[in-house]
């Protein structure tokens, strides 16, 4: 992936060949500006690669998008200022004409992220973390088989974050979704994923992939597991190596 | 030689043979000979009254109704010479429309120019007991008057049955649209006793009473007299040497001189126009060697007519006409 920039071009991603199997939980981790968002946007068919090929769960990004196969939590909340919280969450349901009681569904998602009391608020009346949670609720609302999440919990406190980690994991296990998850937290990546993809900066490429062999269901004691430490250390090593 | 006095004269229309006398006087140096440097201003959208009353021009040409209504509204304009002694205003219809006399106008659509140019038509119809929507007090007019700008081809013959036309301009333009004179019924208002005077020269009381016109050392009235003298000389020359006059006009007239349709040649159209305005000039007092003289009887008749139409509420003040300028210009009484 090459971006033209004043006085040359930025190579944002190089040889980032990656095949993601259905039902996987993949985390992307890497230094700021290494191309995590770019990779996610490529997988979501929001930009087209300037070279290379990419498949997501066996199909092309475009096919996946056309099937409305994925939900995307952007790095910024990207809420519509003129819609209140509830109707922001309703948006995908309306656009996709999802049958059933949409409001009930949207409210359920808001409950999941702890914002059931704020459904009538407008985005500017919410704190940064609350906005981020609305956007998570929005992405989950239509129950997509595939989830792209770009630092979804970055603006949340540890406790809320851990709670949502567990919720997400439960959801993933129960529904068999495929998740591609960007995070800066090594422990979060290890805790959630089946594989952690570590990226390096400029030009962005994949430094290494760490498979996580922790049993499910995972919980507080998972973090005590020696395998957890081992995996986290490996990820940290890869990160450090890529950071120079 | 002494310096010439700059004078601005506002024409009532765009340069064309209608003003041949002025252009001839300018081209042949008649104004120079009187010590005047005359600039002839083409019309904009404003009435010549406005430009003269506000001092943007010193003198102007206009129609008498214009002058008298302005005077009634308190604008101190003064008539100083009458160039055309007969009205060239007509209403024109197709012979096929079956309109043979003014009485037949009833129930017809009449297209007139707005902005004070509608009065001859209004007067004619009023004389025959017809009312129009131009009068805001009439609720059920017997003639539907519509207003249109200048170009008869916009409305005639499709959208109106009768259309206003000057003998010297629009009439020929209508001929150019494909209607030769023998297919047209022309009602010239002067044939029906409506002879509202047209092209005259005027100025303001302030200009005329100036003791030192623009620092020239001449009085305003003296400048006016010189202007009128040279202009009449120009007109006499133009009427006698029409071909030469048309040549002079054509030099001055930019895009406006052409006629319309099949008669769009400027040369041909202006030749027609020159001949027609000559008829309006060579009438009344001019025939008695008193060109430029405002015949008091005709003036009185005009005033009476305008009062009967309700356009004038009372007689204009005596100061509305200043015969001294014409007298000084011609040495006649």
């Amino acid at each position: 992936m090459v971006f033209p920039v004043p006085g040359g071009q930025t190579v944002a991603l190089q040889g980032a060949d990656l095949d993601i199997a259905p039902g996987e939980f993949i985390s992307l981790i890497g230094p700021s500006g290494c191309g995590k968002t770019t990779l996610l946007r490529l997988m979501a068919d929001l930009i087209r690669p300037t070279g290379g090929e990419l498949t997501v769960g066996g199909e092309s990004p475009e096919a996946a998008r056309r099937r409305r196969a994925y939900g995307y939590v952007f790095q910024a909340p990207a809420l519509m200022e003129w819609r209140n919280v509830l109707s922001n969450v309703l948006l995908p349901l309306e656009v996709m004409n999802v049958p059933g009681d949409r409001k009930a569904r949207a409210r359920e998602m808001l409950r999941l992220v702890g914002l059931e009391k704020f459904e009538r608020s407008y985005p500017w009346q919410l704190s940064g973390g609350m906005q981020q949670r609305v956007s998570i609720a929005r992405a989950l609302a239509f129950d997509p088989p595939l989830l792209f999440m770009d630092e979804p919990f970055g603006a949340l406190d540890e406790i809320t974050r851990e709670m949502l980690n567990l919720e997400l994991l439960r959801l993933w296990r129960e529904t068999g979704k495929t998740v591609v998850f960007v995070t800066h937290s090594i422990s979060e990546a290890v805790f959630l994923s089946s594989r952690v993809v570590v990226m390096t900066a400029r030009p962005g490429k994949i430094e290494g992939i760490v498979p996580i062999d922790l049993p499910h269901p995972r919980g507080d004691d998972t973090r005590e597991d020696p395998r957890f430490f081992a995996a986290a250390t490996e990820v940290r090593e890869l990160l450090r190596r890529g950071h120079a | 030689a002494a310096k010439t006095v700059p004078v601005k004269l506002q024409l009532k229309w765009f340069p064309q043979a209608q003003f041949a006398g002025f252009f001839v006087a300018q081209a042949k140096g008649f104004y120079k000979a009187e010590g005047l440097d005359v600039q002839l201003l083409p019309i904009g959208d404003q009435s010549p009254i406005q430009t003269v009353a506000t001092g943007a021009a010193d003198f102007g040409t206009t129609w008498i109704t214009d002058l008298l209504t302005a005077r009634q509204q308190g604008i101190p304009v003064v008539h100083i010479a009458q160039l055309f002694q007969k009205s060239g205003y007509t209403l024109v219809s197709l012979k096929t429309s079956g309109i043979k006399a003014p009485a037949d106008f009833k129930g017809k659509r009449v297209g007139v120019w707005p902005s004070g140019n509608e009065y001859p038509a209004v007067a004619l119809m009023k004389k025959y007991g017809l009312t129009t929507s131009l009068d805001s007090t009439v609720s059920n007019p017997s003639v539907q008057a519509v207003t249109y700008p200048f170009d008869p081809s916009i409305v005639f013959p499709g959208k109106v049955d009768l259309v206003s036309a000057m003998t010297y301009n629009e009439l020929d333009q209508i001929v150019g649209l494909g209607y030769p004179l023998d297919k047209l019924q022309v009602f010239q208002t002067s044939d029906y006793g409506i002879n509202l005077l047209e092209d005259l020269m005027f100025s303001t009381e302030r200009t005329l009473n100036a003791t030192n016109f623009k620092g020239s050392g001449l009085s305003g009235r003296e400048v006016a007299a010189r202007l009128v003298r040279a202009t009449i000389k120009g007109w006499n020359y133009a009427v006698r040497n029409q071909r030469e006059a048309v040549g002079i006009v054509l030099v001055n007239c930019g895009n406006t001189c052409k006629g319309s349709g099949t008669r769009s040649s400027a040369q041909a159209h202006q030749t027609w126009q020159m001949a027609e305005v000559a008829k309006l000039y060579n009438a009344g007092p001019t025939l008695q060697g008193r060109a430029g003289y405002l015949d008091p009887a005709t003036y009185k008749a005009n005033v009476t007519l305008l009062k009967s139409l309700g356009i004038l509420k009372s007689d204009p003040p005596a100061a509305a006409v200043d015969y001294r300028v014409w007298q000084a210009a011609t040495g006649k009484k």
Binding site: - | F14, G44, D45, T51, T54, F150, G158, N255
Partner: protein, 262 residues
Amino acid sequence: MLVANRGVADEALRSGADLGCGTAWQCATVLRNPVLPAPGQFAAGFRTLSTPPLAPTSAPYNALVTGSETLLGLALASVLGLGLATLLVFSRSFERATLPWLVASQTVPIVAIAPMLAVILGQYGVQGFLPKAIIAAYIAFFPVAVGAAQGLRSPDALQLDLMRTYRASAWQVFWQLRLPASLPYLFTALKVAATAALVGSIVAEISTISFSGLGKMLAENSRASDTVALWVIMVYGAALGIGLVALIGALERVVTRWRPAR
């Protein structure tokens, strides 16, 4: 084109006009006073009015005159409009006291007051080029003012907060934040204003005592019933308008170079 003229031709023929052509359809392309000129007629008219290009009676020369009046008018309008927009944005009470009058000024038919305006300006020795530019500016300043005011109000709250933390002066907020943020609005407004200014200067040429310009040509030719010439002049006017809009578009691209290509 044919259809537009056929009606007129038909009407003329039925009224007994001698057009020198047979049926209405045939006449449609040769009418001397067509609603729309036939291509051949137009081309001929275009040639006569365009040559020699710099003669005082030719369209290119007069378009040049009108174009420069319009540019001057637009420049005046931009300064005035931006100034007003700034005051409107800075002061609620100024807005309350003047906005209705600004709006009212735009409902006064310019054609009715342009002659008076020209006459009044003429008394003070302002003649020729300038009154026409002033009239153009009179029409064009309003779109600029309204658009710019909207744009000046468009920065987002966080950016305003940032300037507040710097204790930036009102002028700094204006120059560093409000003005750049208003550019998308401003350029849209300028495009509308440019065509308005063009119309304004043409109107001014017609209604004041003017010796040149497309407006003068329009007036003369409409008085002379020369429909084909009117169309030629209209095309020149429209080309001028497109040129102005394109010019502003180019300026916009230069000024807002920072934006992602769409």
